[in-house]
């Protein structure tokens, strides 16, 4: 590891100035569970590390029934998972955040880091996408909003320009009769990386008989997490049924470009998208009906 400057500002403006001053050679540090590993392995070299954990705006975790949930980019995952409001209103999000790493990793790792690291397999991203979450990004020039579905542009690549910082992620308020579920497949129970991840979100019509709205998002089958637009759309207006879910699962299987690597084969990944999409939809449906699915992760 090469020597670098370390700063830990408390004011957002200060953080933004520091980042702007060093341009490409500056890096934000949240939990460090990706950044430090990558710096040790020589994959990232930075002259300036800006620790953002002390910045107030990045440490907010607020829920408001009309506004939804605001997750500061530097809030550790364990704090989010332990929040009773998050557990009550966004169990599909907890599915994803509570399986990242281990207890030790989650006490440091953040949603901001998971998003900005932009791994195709990042667990939080498909879950945030199906919830319709939006990122707040700031720089010295001002603030902009970017939907999570458009935040990642490639492996390790995001829409963030030099000097830009992810401040927070806003998840819209929960809709009545809706439910979400995230499942991933890993060989090990924990401390593992998704071979495939699938998030599903369903909103039922007033009589609970048909699907009013549906979103499905996939992880680890393309250079970025993907919103499976057609798979979600195929469910709208239909009665939730095995046949409808199978059709959506098949549509989900038809997108993306899964690869074969040391973690899994392309055929295995496509196959798993089908299985996990069906299972995630079943879980989301149970939640939309006010029930809790079984404890399986994949």
């Amino acid at each position: 590891m090469k020597p670098f400057q370390y700063r830990a500002p408390t004011l957002l403006g200060e953080a933004l100035s520091l980042l702007a001053s060093a341009g490409q050679r500056a890096r934000a540090l949240a939990g460090g569970t990706d950044l430090l590993v990558q710096m040790r392995r020589g994959l990232i070299n930075a002259d300036l590390i800006v620790d953002v954990k002390k910045v107030f705006e990045l440490n907010r975790l607020d829920f408001d029934p009309s506004d939804g949930l605001t997750i500061g980019a530097a809030v550790p995952l364990c704090r989010i998972c332990e929040s009773p409001e998050v557990a009550q209103h966004y169990p599909g999000l907890v599915d994803a955040l509570s399986i990242i790493g281990s207890v030790a990793v989650r006490s440091r790792a953040t949603v901001g880091g998971n998003l900005c690291n932009a791994a195709p397999s990042a667990d939080s991203i498909p879950a945030l996408i199906v919830h319709g979450a939006v990122c707040t990004v700031a720089s010295r020039e001002g603030t902009r909003q970017v939907p999570v579905a458009r935040f990642c542009t490639g492996p390790g690549q995001t829409v963030l320009g030099p000097g830009e910082l992810l401040v927070s992620v806003r998840v819209p308020p929960p809709r009545p009769r809706s439910g979400a579920r995230y499942l991933r497949f890993t060989p090990r129970y924990e401390m593992d990386i998704a071979v495939v991840g699938v998030a599903a979100w369903l909103e039922l019509s007033e009589g609970l008989t048909t699907i009013a709205n549906a979103r499905i998002a996939l992880g680890a089958v393309a250079p970025t997490p993907l919103l499976a637009v057609e798979a979600g759309a195929s469910l709208v207006g239909r009665t939730p049924s095995a046949a409808a879910f199978a059709e959506a699962a098949a549509l989900a299987q038809s997108i993306g470009a899964p690869i074969s690597d040391v973690r899994g084969t392309a055929a295995q990944r496509r196959h798993l998208v089908g299985i996990l999409t069906r299972r995630a939809l079943e879980g989301a449906l149970q939640r939309a009906r006010g029930a809790e699915p079984d404890g399986r992760q994949g």
């Binding site: 590891m1 090469k2 020597p3 392995r41 281990s102 497949f185 060989p187 090990r188 129970y189 924990e190 401390m191 593992d192 990386i193 071979v195 690597d261 040391v262 973690r263 899994g264 084969t265 055929a267 295995q268 196959h271 798993l272 299985i275 994949g298």
Partner: protein
């Protein structure tokens, strides 16, 4: 401290009444480890310490055309750069020299080429990039069967196959072809009513010890050398240093630190010579700590294998013939564990006619090292599926089939020796009687499998001294590194002999200047072999103390005896001294008493430990994910000196076996790059993936040991993959012909993907 005797009834009767053996005292050093106070390899620190880093080959196979270190030498903060040219000319074996620092060729990705000592590890790392190595890249050969073909690229132009017929005339990647024959295999197969033949492949697997190799070298002004290193054997490291540095053994002191796992992988030395070369050149002490990726790329995996097994049985259930071909990847230099694989493959069974062919084959991957029961796990994975299939075809219960065919005292193994007393039958009977074998599985997509494995004991050479202190306590030194809590088991045997409580015995691991040669802590030998040395040392202490009592009382020494409570003499019943009372008199009766035990345990006839495992697994048929739900491991341990520690060995071995069966492997790309050089992708199981393992201890005493001890630490890994494969067969109807049995492989075997 008094600890309760083990409550469970042993399977065999108690021969003598024991006071220490069979109890569960806390292990020496355990609390230090929990509190972070134990000093491991990387914790060693000295004044003026420099830090070493190693330049490693990016190619799996290449000729080194030139190595230019000049720019690195001039880099600020760099104190020394070494290459193979710094090894004394002609010292040591060529393959050991070349694997320490490459000479003409690099043979695997991660092969060391040069090393740098600098003010900080970061500076050393930066300077590595300034070493200019020119290569002529050669095609690699990565698979054992490809390497055996006549037109395969050759790793060593001078390597010619050794076999019973002598050495072959032409070069090959096959270093050795070994063969065992018993009876008449052709006739045996002709007699068989059912014949099963299958082939299996297994990938290289890393031992997965969590502590990376670390070594610190300090040269003294008189030209002698001290090395602190995490190793399973300080003496073998000393021998290695002596031969490669051309230095007399007495001038080298190797101090073994606490060790954070080894499992065979720390029986080899990787950075000790490098640290010593750097320290000599820099004129300052140097510490070299390997990174995780270096450990995974360049240190001891266990061989990948191709194994073909053919077995035939008669309708009455008797196995009449067997044949196996074992092809083992040695890695870059000869010396795989194919020998012990060939020795173990049919070890559990009494087979009248058999042939085993073993091939030791070099490939462009790191030189393999021992891994817990070296060579046995893949062999047993293969043979136990074939045995299971034979039983199924003959409609005989799988356990009964093993009972019908298992080896007994006097059975001659395919590899030669007849068995001494070993509890094969007792283990099978205990397994059959265990509720796990008959209780319902309790759900769909579940299966139960069993497998039988054996691992022989190596006793090796050991030294032990016991010094009696004036207050009646004793200080015990051994050359055996404490890799598994064995130090406590060794001291317990001495305490038993001396009639002391364990708290009166303080045992420590000595450095190589403080005790005689002792082999590595490996091969299930330490509690057995070094335990024998401790018993011998204790008996020596007692003999000397009897003489002191005789002198005090003015009676002939033959009349003095010690019943582990008091010294008495048959001449005068009023005389009586406890160990402590006599210890207080030593100074006045001739000075200190020090007992010694130094022995070659292998002059004794060798026993071993069989184990029968029962595994219940659940398969998610849609994803291929396998969960082990319940696991019972029945094993003959001779006598459990420290039952808690034996249970720990069994649980740990099973956990490693589950990792090998389902998750782990070293996966290489076609160019020979290791694709999973991190613990994220080299998937050791976590505690969440391992069920509560139930160890069942069977005690059939080994007649050559005073307390019946057998080596118990390695057998527990041997049957695991086979038991899980047999359980998966019950669910899928498919035999698993590959390790690891990953979810993708299971789905492929089922025809799902």
């Amino acid at each position: 401290m008094s600890t309760p005797r083990d409550e469970r009834k042993p399977v065999t009767d108690e021969p003598v009444s024991l006071r220490v053996i069979g109890t569960r005292p806390p292990l020496y050093g355990a609390v230090d480890k929990v509190l972070g106070r134990a000093v491991f390899g990387a914790d060693v620190s000295l004044p003026e310490l420099l830090h070493g880093k190693v330049l490693r080959s990016p190619h799996a196979h290449a000729r080194i055309l030139s190595v230019d270190t000049r720019r690195a030498e001039g880099y600020p903060g760099v104190h020394a750069v070494v290459t193979a040219r710094d090894l004394p000319e002609g010292a040591g074996e060529q393959s050991e020299r070349d694997n320490t620092l490459a000479g003409d060729k690099v043979l695997y990705v991660g092969h060391p080429i040069a090393a740098i000592a600098a003010e900080s590890p970061h500076i050393a790392e930066e300077a590595l990039a300034l070493i200019d190595v020119q290569y002529e890249v050669l095609p690699p050969v990565l698979d054992v069967r490809r390497a055996m073909q006549a037109d395969a690229p050759l790793l060593h132009e001078t390597l010619r196959t050794w076999s019973l017929a002598g050495q072959a005339a032409s070069s090959s990647n096959v270093a050795e072809h070994l063969q065992h024959v018993k009876g008449d295999p052709e006739r045996g197969f002709a007699e068989a009513d059912v014949i099963v033949e299958r082939s299996f492949t297994t990938t290289m697997v890393h031992q997965g010890y969590i502590e990376p190799h670390a070594s610190t070298a300090l040269w003294h002004p008189d030209g002698s050398l001290t090395v602190w290193t995490c190793t399973q054997g300080a003496f073998p490291v000393r021998e290695h240093l002596s031969s490669l540095l051309d230095l007399p053994m007495a001038r080298i002191r190797v101090v073994p630190t606490e060790i954070g796992g080894g499992f065979g992988g720390k029986a080899s030395s990787y950075v000790d010579v490098v640290a010593a070369l750097l320290a000599r050149k820099a004129g300052r002490p140097v510490k070299v700590v390997m990174g995780r990726d270096e450990v995974l790329k360049a240190t001891g995996p266990t061989p990948g294998t191709f194994i073909r097994v053919r077995m035939g049985a008669r309708r009455d259930g008797r196995i009449v013939a067997a044949e196996a071909e074992l092809c083992y990847e040695a890695g870059a230099y000869p010396g795989s564990s194919v020998g012990s694989g060939a020795d173990t493959i049919f070890a559990c069974y009494d087979i009248p006619n058999a042939r085993v062919d073993g091939y030791d084959v070099v490939v462009n991957k790191p030189k393999t090292s021992s891994y817990r029961a070296p060579g046995a796990t893949p062999a047993v994975f293969a043979v136990e599926q074939v045995v299971d299939e034979l039983a199924e075809r003959l409609c005989i219960d799988s356990l009964d089939f093993r009972l019908l065919n298992c080896a007994r005292e006097g059975t001659r193994r395919v590899s030669g020796q007849p068995y001494p007393r070993v509890g094969f039958v007792e283990v099978l009977q205990a397994a059959k009687a265990h509720p796990h074998y008959s209780e319902p599985l309790g759900g769909p997509n579940r299966g139960r499998g069993i497998a039988f494995g054996y691992w022989g004991n190596w006793a090796g050479q050991s030294c032990c001294t016991i010094s009696v202190n004036a207050d009646g306590t004793v200080s015990l030194l051994t050359g055996s590194v404490d890799v598994s809590g064995a130090l406590t088991g060794i001291a317990m045997q001495a305490a038993e002999e001396l009639g002391l409580e364990l708290r009166q015995v303080q045992a420590r691991v000595a450095d190589t200047a403080s005790i005689g040669y002792t082999d590595v802590s490996a091969g299930s030998r330490t509690t057995f072999g070094t335990g024998l040395a401790a018993i011998e040392a204790a008996r020596d202490v007692i003999a000397q103390m009897r003489a002191r009592a005789a002198r005090l009382w003015g009676v002939p020494v033959e009349t003095v005896s010690y019943d582990r409570v008091a010294f008495t003499t048959s001449v005068d019943p009023t005389q009586r001294l406890s160990f402590r009372e006599l210890a207080a008199q030593l100074s006045a009766t001739g000075g200190p008493v020090m007992g010694r035990g130094n022995l070659d345990g292998d002059v004794l006839r060798r026993g071993g430990a069989p184990g029968l495992h029962i595994a219940d697994v659940e398969l998610d048929p849609e994803t291929g994910k396998v969960t082990v739900l319940r696991y019972t491991a029945v094993q003959d341990v001779g006598r459990a000196v420290h039952p808690g520690n034996v249970e720990g060995q069994i649980k740990g071995g099973v956990a490693q076996g589950i990792g090998w069966a389902l998750y782990e492997g070293c996966f290489y790309g076609e160019d020979g790059q290791l694709l999973n050089a991190t613990l994220l992708d080299n998937k050791l199981p976590t505690a969440m993936d391992i069920p509560a393992v139930e160890p069942v201890i069977v005690e059939v005493p080994d007649p050559v040991h005073p307390y019946g001890v057998r080596g118990a630490g390695e057998t527990p890994i041997v049957p695991v993959a086979g038991a899980i494969a047999n359980a998966l067969y019950r669910i899928t109807g498919r035999r698993m012909e590959r390790l690891p049995m990953t979810p993708a492989y299971v789905l492929e075997r089922m025809g799902v993907i």
